[in-house]
């Protein structure tokens, strides 16, 4: 945690992301960034703003529009000594690069019995609620949790983003680093100067509670916290809220301890329900805590439909009403 000797600064999440890359670029010559419009333009969300001027075009590399090219080249660079950070402009555009991730990045270590490794971080903004055009808002984290060989990290604030990204860049294996668009500028947290790390695979307990454990991540953290604040005011229900932060591997201890304490669980995510990461959380709870449960586990998710264009996206996203209804259902079961 933050020691008093360290200076901190209030930052937005995008600044936290940038700050992490800046630290790592400074510390390690092998860290390089590749992506579309990340150089002179500083990235369409400004994640790399100023880095091109500071580190030059040999390290902050504007690539042609080619996700397969960006990820495929990053695999070769990573296997040969570099620590590439590949930016995919929006997660919904990663599909042309999917083949490279699935068939190479995630399994090179295993296929070469450790002779070649892929210390690669793929960063991508994702998620709905910012009125972006079609396909820019896809929330497809479970495509990656389903890929053996890659870790999947989702910060929701600047402090977590910086610590988790530094850890991800240091990680010897590929990490999918998903940045919820709606969190980029919607909140500020104190962020320490310099390098600090947050372990991958560790959830964060945002709020202690006794009656139900609510698991969430990404932009739904903000919505869940808001919905719960209201609910606790209105009714006599005490909620524990946990930001999972890493979707693969899940934080088994934290999830288990919380459910065994409260005896109830709800999971909130904006991705479609079927095949969603919620199912893995449920399965984990089933394995570890079945006899502690006092109610069926609730899920509040997006629909099994493509993420819609913006006139309908608010209906698609889990609403406060649905989050509250799920919690009340569990508590009154």
């Amino acid at each position: 945690m933050v020691s008093p000797a360290v200076n901190t600064k209030k930052m937005t999440m995008i600044e936290g992301v940038r700050n992490a890359m800046d630290e790592m670029l400074k510390e390690n010559e092998d860290v390089i960034i590749l992506g579309e419009d990340i150089g002179v333009n500083g990235g369409v969300f400004r994640a790399t703003e100023g880095l091109h001027e500071k580190y030059g075009e040999e390290r902050i590399i504007d690539t042609p529009i080619s996700e397969s090219g960006i990820i495929g080249n990053s695999i070769g660079l990573a296997a040969n000594g570099f620590r590439p950070i590949a930016e995919i402009q929006f997660l919904g555009f990663i599909y042309p690069g999917f083949n490279q991730l699935m068939t190479h990045a995630t399994r090179l270590r295993q296929r070469s019995l450790g002779r070649f490794t892929v210390p690669l971080v793929v960063r991508a903004p994702y998620g709905a609620g910012v009125r972006a055009p079609e396909i820019h808002s896809d929330s497809v984290e479970s495509l990656f949790t389903h890929m053996p060989g890659i870790k999947v990290v989702v910060p929701s604030n600047a402090y977590d983003a910086k610590g988790l990204l530094i850890t991800s860049i240091d990680d010897p294996d590929p990490v999918m680093f998903l940045e919820p668009l709606r969190c980029y500028r919607s909140n500020r947290t104190e962020v320490p100067d310099g390098k600090y790390t947050i372990d991958i695979g560790r959830a964060s307990v945002l709020k202690q509670g006794d009656d139900i454990s609510v698991f969430t991540w990404g932009a739904m953290v903000m919505d869940t916290m808001k919905a719960i604040e209201k609910l606790e005011e209105e009714q006599n229900i005490s909620c524990e809220v946990i930001d999972l932060r890493t979707l693969y591997p899940l934080d088994k201890e934290t999830i288990t301890a919380s459910v065994q304490k409260t005896g109830r669980a709800a999971i909130v995510h904006e991705a479609p329900a079927t095949g969603g990461v919620s199912n893995d959380v449920i399965s984990l709870i089933n394995d570890t805590s079945f006899l502690y449960l006092r109610a069926p586990i609730q899920r509040v998710t997006g629909f099994d439909t493509p993420v819609p264009v913006y006139s309908l996206e608010q209906d698609y996203l889990p609403s406060a009403a649905k989050i509250k209804a799920a919690i009340v259902n569990a508590v009154n079961f």
């Binding site: 150089g39 042609p64 099994d304 209906d315």
Partner: protein, 354 residues
């Protein structure tokens, strides 16, 4: 290689005819109609930028400067042909028969925006770069298999040629002799990345050589050159002589989208000065003036007509009924799966019908 692909032109920047043979087939009335189409598209584009600033539509993708490339090509197609636009090609889709109201609804984040009028074959705009090129070959391939002589035309930018899909589409097109026109608008930039950083080749046209394909490079700001070259390519495709790659060299004055700040990566003054030399409307105006066919009253009349048309479309957009959430569920599958049915019911149980 660039010498092998000289830029084809009919009217130059000063409005002078540089290829007089080409003018044999083109009447002054037709030139005026091109002007009208370009003005209509430009006025709509400017209006959309304003609507975005007022918060009436979402992020918008302007095309000002590219009217000749989009309109000259769209006009060269016939009824029943197919077009495959990107997010930037409303001048083309508008000209090919998309309704202005639906174009506006598209930017208001409404699913109706992607729906063309009955019988008009316009695909929803391609959002993932280059993905639509393969749909264009597929659709044209189907026409060929059906024994029709319909063709497809697909729009894409310079940046799109870096994606695998571009190469795969050209390869399919040439292997199966598919009646498609690959219409590239080279506007010099892919968001912030200039062409020289996107590719080492000086032309995009030359990329067609690797696929043994007819390929040419034209002045994309010259609506007549665009029309003539596209018409010829469409005719070739119809006559089963295979696909063509056209590189139309053009320029977009504004930013990539209304969310983008072009001054970060390109000199906006340069972009503005280009209006004098490359503006597709100005060039046609100058030509018509040399023919004594330009008339300020005519301009005023068409401006008024277009303003009315745009205002009507905006009113229709604003009066359009609120979106119905069922659109989301009803069109995911032909028949909703039980998962979806259950999700609708659960949603309605909590949120109500509204």
């Amino acid at each position: 290689m660039i010498e092998d692909f000289p830029m084809q032109q009919i009217i130059n920047e000063d409005g002078a005819i540089v290829d007089s043979d080409a003018m044999n087939d083109i009447s002054t009335e037709q030139v005026k109609s091109f002007y009208y189409q370009m003005l209509r598209a430009r006025m709509l584009d400017k209006k959309c930028v304003n609507l975005q600033r007022q918060g009436k539509i979402g992020t918008y993708v302007p095309y000002e400067g590219q009217e000749a490339a989009q309109i000259g090509s769209a006009v060269a197609l016939g009824e029943g042909d197919w077009i495959f636009p990107t997010y930037r090609d409303h001048a083309a889709t508008l000209t090919f028969g998309h309704s202005m109201r639906n174009l506006l609804l598209n930017w208001r984040g409404r699913p109706e925006g992607n729906v063309p009028p009955e019988g008009v074959n316009i695909f929803p705009p391609g959002i993932p770069i280059a993905s639509q090129l393969l749909h264009a070959t597929g659709a044209a391939w189907a026409e060929k298999k059906h024994g029709s002589d319909r063709v497809s035309l697909v729009y894409f930018g310079d940046g799109a040629t870096s994606e695998g899909d571009f190469h795969e589409a050209l390869n399919f097109g040439s292997v199966f002799n598919i009646p498609t026109v690959f219409f590239n608008q080279n506007n010099g930039y892919a968001i912030s990345v200039p062409m020289k950083r996107q590719m080492k080749t000086k032309t995009i046209a030359q990329k067609g050589l690797a696929y043994d394909m007819n390929c040419l490079r034209i002045d994309g700001n010259d609506v007549l050159a665009v029309y003539a070259a596209t018409k010829e390519s469409v005719d070739r495709a119809r006559a089963n002589q295979g696909p063509t790659l056209i590189e139309a060299v053009t320029w977009r004055y504004g930013a990539h989208t209304t969310a983008d700040d072009a001054s970060k990566y390109r000199d906006q003054n340069e972009s503005e000065t280009r209006r004098e030399t490359t503006d597709p409307l100005l060039r046609v105006q100058r030509y018509l003036q040399t023919q004594n066919a330009w008339n300020e009253d005519w301009l005023k009349t068409i401006e008024e007509d277009i303003t009315d048309e745009i205002e009507t479309a905006i009113a229709e957009m604003e009066a359009y009924p609120e979106p119905d959430l069922r659109q989301l569920f009803d069109y995911v599958y032909d028949r909703p799966t039980w998962t979806i049915q259950e999700q609708v019911n659960q949603h309605l149980a909590v949120q109500g019908e509204e």
